[in-house]
């Protein structure tokens, strides 16, 4: 296996990063009311070229990079070092994106043709809701990793994700309720999305409760891993079941964008996407801070922690 011994060339990261950017750009334009065909065609071409170089021609680079990241992330010491380098950039990125997205959404984007200005709440509500959802998915994946490979870092990550995810779910619920008052005339309505979010909030509380109830940190971590893995299956089924339940009773639906997401105007969509990405990065910041704290505590007897603290 001489191939795997070859180091990952720097331009591999460049190619992959460019591919990701192009994918995001395509996603944004796809949401536009009349997608610019030229952009789609050129973008698709670029994407396929990148994919060819990245995944078809040199697939072992991807594999190698994955294996390397996995090992570095799995080692508390490497994780602490890498996350320390990454953290300032993430803070700047999330702060910048959130500032731009929220101010743009609050002050610069046009009002909704039916809801007027109250719709501006979605610039916080939607990012919080999707962040809470993604957070639980991330927790479930960490749970799988921790149970299958007994990776300590994944247990720590679950403990770090839960508080922020629960906060985001609470924010989504509160902002949704306040948005409901001018829109439906009541603070609470058993809308499908709000109900799913409420259950997601309870599931976060369950993971945190289990973590706190078990004294041994390793045991608590593994128990939370199993619960979040079971929970991830539940999240999916809850979503379908609540949708079905909602259609059964024909309640009002929280459709901000009208039927189907495609009708939103780009001038409204752009700030929403920006604040969504800002929220994701902020999630990463919060998780990294908590993970670093927990790693220091758990590894307090090792030499590297003593060196870090000196």
């Amino acid at each position: 296996m001489t191939e795997t011994a070859r180091p990952v060339p720097g331009h591999f990261y460049l190619w992959s990063g460019l591919g990701l950017l192009v994918a995001v750009a395509l996603y944004v334009f796809w949401q536009a009311p009349q997608p610019n065909r030229t952009v789609l065609v050129v973008g698709g071409y670029l994407l396929s070229v990148l994919f060819y170089f990245g995944a078809v021609r040199y697939p072992h680079w991807y594999w190698q990079a994955l294996v390397r990241w996995y090992h570095q992330l799995g080692s508390p010491r490497h994780f602490y070092r890498i996350s320390g380098v990454l953290l300032p950039y993430l803070v700047a990125l999330s702060g910048g994106l959130l500032l731009v997205g929220l101010i743009w959404g609050l002050a610069f984007s046009p009002p909704h043709h039916e809801q007027g200005n109250s719709y501006r709440i979605i610039y916080l509500h939607v990012p919080a809701a999707s962040g809470a959802m993604m957070g639980y998915m991330a927790m479930g994946i960490c749970g799988l990793v921790s149970l299958v490979w007994r990776m300590k870092m994944a247990e720590v990550a679950i403990k770090a994700i839960a508080p922020f995810g629960a906060t985001l779910a609470a924010v989504a619920l509160i902002t949704g309720a306040i948005w409901g008052r001018p829109t439906w005339g009541t603070y609470w309505i058993w809308d499908a999305r709000l109900t799913s979010m409420l259950i997601l909030f309870f599931m976060y509380l369950g993971v945190m409760g289990l973590q706190n109830a078990i004294a041994d940190p390793r045991q608590a971590g593994r128990a939370a891993s199993l619960l979040s893995l079971v929970g991830i299956i539940n999240v999916v089924i809850v979503r379908y079941s609540v949708d079905w339940w909602h259609s059964l009773h024909q309640g009002s639906s929280m459709s901000i964008f009208g039927a189907g997401g495609s009708q939103i105007h780009p001038s409204m969509l752009a700030p929403l996407l920006i604040s969504m990405f800002g929220t994701y990065f902020l999630f990463a910041v919060a998780v990294l801070i908590r993970t670093r704290t927990e790693v220091l505590w758990r590894e307090r007897r090792s030499r590297w922690v003593k060196e870090v603290l000196r």
Partner: protein
């Protein structure tokens, strides 16, 4: 004797020697459902409308409350660690234990439910859907709840925690279970909804015991 049969036999024996464990959930179920007319109204129209939800929520809580002692007794006397050091997969003994638990606590609920449905003015045609949905739903509730019971077995006073863990996991079963009865009440077809309940049951029975076994191992410190 095979592990499955031996475990089933043991659990059934244990259940029959401690009849309170069988009767209490059933009693709870009946009492809770009969509280609703007192709390709301004895009017048949209102009660009929609420009956699917009332009966289902009461059944769900009865199953959940019966689960707290599912593994605790064995944990206290050391039989649980004998189960965990046994050679071979834990799937079969765990499944046998859940089967026995459902036979002793879930099945009586299914059998009594038509009576309670009748007392809450459900039309006789709907009673069929009621017991069918409970027949499919309560075993799923037992299996899903057992995951929570396994994870909290080492936690002292884990009852409230168990509820916090398990109730969100019960949402899909409750929605489709009570929903099927509600649809029957509206005169719509229910076989598709019962099929979904069956799918949830199949998922729970095929994967659930693995999760329960893993939860028990985690609780013992592995």
């Amino acid at each position: 004797m095979s592990v499955f049969a031996a475990t089933l036999r043991r659990e059934l024996l244990l259940g029959l020697r401690t009849p309170a464990e069988i009767i209490n959930p059933l009693f709870f179920f009946v009492v809770v459902v009969s509280l609703f007319p007192l709390a709301l109204t004895p009017s048949p129209e209102t009660l009929r409308l609420l009956a699917p939800g009332v009966v289902w929520v009461a059944a769900l809580l009865a199953v959940m409350l019966s689960l707290d002692s599912l593994f605790r007794r064995d944990e206290e006397c050391g039989a649980l660690e004998q189960l965990l050091v046994a050679p071979g997969e834990l799937y079969l003994p765990v499944l046998a234990r859940l089967c026995a638990h459902w036979l002793l606590t879930g099945l009586p609920l299914v059998l009594v439910a038509p009576l309670l449905g009748y007392m809450t003015y459900l039309p006789v045609e709907v009673l069929d859907t009621l017991w069918q949905s409970l027949l499919l739903g309560t075993p799923a509730l037992t299996v899903i709840g057992a995951i929570g019971a396994a994870l909290t077995v080492s936690v002292r006073r884990g009852g409230i925690l168990l509820a916090l863990l398990v109730l969100p996991l019960y949402v899909p079963v409750l929605v489709f279970g009570a929903g099927s009865v509600g649809r029957a009440l509206d005169g719509m077809e229910v076989s598709s909804v019962l099929a979904v309940l069956g799918a949830i049951l199949a998922l729970a029975v095929s994967l659930g015991p693995f999760a329960v076994a893993l939860g028990l191992r985690i609780s013992s410190g592995d």
